[in-house]
């Protein structure tokens, strides 16, 4: 096992991509993802990684080059954020239904307007339905571990799907913290070489990405849907093997003091650490509260989530995204769906917090839990509430 060092999370992610032996890295820099691709460019230029780094002219070109490179049989990595990720949008649906595995780290950032370079989850929720497997990291160590896990899962022939690892922009990407990077031998033992079932080869020509006439389009989409649902087993097995190899355990959802808790806070991403501190404080004050964090966002782990919250009376769900005109944030909507008409289901209250870099503090989490408990006694007027809005 490697040494525990103080390193910026973005740099550690780039080092993890090097350890995973990425072969083609088409990338376009955008804040706050920049340090990841800059460091990768450096690693490739220094000859430390035998890869093709393609400094493309836009994110649209980045994702197009990614697709081409995977189709030709290469192990591919890229990274983006916010407006850049949206510029990829046209292409993002293509590798998933075409079953072209690759790994992308999204350093989550708000969407304009107004212009914001700061963190929330609106960029990735725009891309919620692109059909990629998606995970959310809580800290730097997890970001590194999820990147290694992503290569292992994505390229598994039973999966063969692209994967996104979400890390909070700035609040994770720009923080120096203790991270243990595994050795090359350990990573080689965990991630086998990429052997696609078929690839573009002039000696054995195949057609990839042809038109899907009405007679086949539905079947292609259903096949994709089956593939991502079936990927669950491989995702879980790869996490189990990760624990065997590296000693750190990961699950689709993570519980913190949630056993027997009446009210459970639900979070995704790095705010979960502050949320744990809030739970500790409230537990010390005698409150029966806990936390469940969603790590695997797609395919959504409905079964595991229901199991983790089965004794709860109230769920206080925190979304980092405000979809104007919707009934609530995307995580809240997902949870309301999985509990619909389930006997004894908890009451679910949806909150939006931490938009565009607004800090979500311990006090904010306490406010969210307090409000959810009040609303469980007296139904609120609205289906969701935005926390911490300045009135003047």
């Amino acid at each position: 096992m490697g040494k525990r060092i103080g390193v910026e999370v973005s740099i550690a992610i780039a080092d993890a991509v090097k350890l995973a032996r990425a072969e083609v890295i088409p990338a376009y820099p955008i804040t706050p993802q920049t340090h990841i691709v800059e460091h990768l460019a450096e690693i490739v230029a220094n000859g430390e990684l035998d890869a093709e780094y393609i400094p493309v002219e836009s994110e649209h070109a980045a994702m197009s080059a990614c697709c081409g490179a995977v189709a030709a049989g290469a192990r591919v990595f890229t990274s983006s954020s916010s407006q850049g990720l949206s510029l990829m949008s046209e292409i993002l649906y293509i590798p998933s239904t075409m079953r072209l595995p690759m790994v992308m780290v999204v350093a989550n950032r708000a969407m304009s307007a107004p212009i914001s370079i700061w963190n929330d989850h609106q960029d990735i929720m725009v891309q919620r339905d692109i059909g990629w497997i998606q995970t959310f990291a809580e800290n730097g160590q997890e970001a590194v571990d999820l990147v290694l896990h992503a290569f292992r899962v994505a390229e598994d022939r039973r999966v063969s799907l692209p994967m996104i690892v979400n890390i909070d922009g700035f609040t994770l990407s720009h923080v120096i913290e203790p991270i243990e990077l595994p050795t090359q031998e350990e990573v080689d033992a965990y991630i086998p070489p990429f052997k696609p079932k078929r690839k573009l080869d002039p000696r054995k020509p195949v057609t990839m990405g042809p038109v899907g006439i009405p007679e086949v389009y539905t079947e292609a989409k259903v096949a994709h849907d089956h593939a991502i649902k079936n990927s669950r087993k491989v995702i879980l097995k790869a996490w189990k093997e990760f624990a065997d190899h590296f000693g750190r355990e990961y699950h689709p959802v993570e519980s913190y003091k949630a056993e027997g808790a009446d009210t459970i806070l639900v979070t995704m991403g790095s705010i979960s650490e502050t949320a744990m501190t809030a739970i500790d404080k409230m537990r010390d004050e005698g409150r029966n509260v806990g936390l469940v964090r969603i790590r695997l966002w797609r395919p959504f782990p409905a079964q595991e989530f229901r199991a983790a919250t089965k004794h709860a009376k109230v769920l206080a769900v925190v979304d980092r995204c405000l979809p104007p005109g919707a009934v609530c944030g995307p995580v809240g909507a997902e949870l309301r769906s999985i509990f619909y008409k389930i006997p004894g289901a908890p009451k679910i209250f949806s909150f939006v917090a931490g938009l565009g870099g607004r800090d979500v503090t311990v006090e904010r989490f306490e406010e969210i839990i307090d409000k959810a408990e009040q609303y469980s006694k007296r139904r609120p007027k609205e289906l969701y509430e935005v926390i911490g809005v300045r009135e003047k």
Partner: protein, 181 residues
């Protein structure tokens, strides 16, 4: 857990200082975080960087609102920025200044515990540059003992290579000359 805020101007190395302290603390087996004030930063403009050091795992992603320690790299900043903003009651402000204690208290209205060193002069004489980030780390060591000298020197060696000796000399001289009051 100790929380530190560093004030500097873009280009003076506040972020580098924060990184050096955090990585030294991690090398000592502690837990630490270092991060910049998130945003578009410009050379010469006032900037801040933050450090957390703890014996236990750090479970917060909040900004630093109530620092235990404030380090000011640039002598012109205390008249522009409220460097003691949110400082804990028993907190300390460590200043780069040529003034004495009475002069500092009068000029900037600071009532808290203080540590002072003329880092501009030291950096100019030892490094040949008015870049005070590593010099001010000497003052931080003297005033707080937040990390050990050995671990910090190792972090400087790693970061600066050949230039490390000069930086260590500036740090040492600042350590010797820092007055805590």
């Amino acid at each position: 857990m100790k929380e530190v805020r560093l004030h500097g101007r873009g280009g003076q190395g506040a972020v580098t200082s924060a990184e050096l302290v955090a990585s030294a603390a991690i090398d000592e087996g502690k837990y630490a975080q270092a991060f910049p004030s998130f945003g578009p930063e410009r050379r010469g403009a006032p900037v801040a960087a933050f450090i957390r050091v703890s014996d236990k795992q750090i479970r917060t992603r909040e900004k630093v609102y109530h620092p235990d320690i404030v380090v000011v790299l640039d002598s012109s900043l205390p008249s522009l920025v409220n460097v003691a903003d949110g400082l804990k009651d028993d907190g300390i402000v460590i200043l780069n200044t040529a003034l004495d204690e009475a002069g500092v208290r009068k000029a900037f209205g600071l009532k808290c515990k203080l540590a002072m060193v003329d880092a501009n002069t030291i950096a100019r004489e030892v490094l040949g540059l008015p870049i005070t980030n590593t010099t001010m780390l000497g003052a931080l060591l003297k005033a707080t003992g937040i990390i050990g000298t050995e671990a910090l020197e190792a972090a400087l060696d790693r970061r600066f290579g050949k230039l490390s000796e000069k930086n260590k000399a500036a740090l040492k001289r600042a350590y010797d000359e820092t007055k805590v009051c």
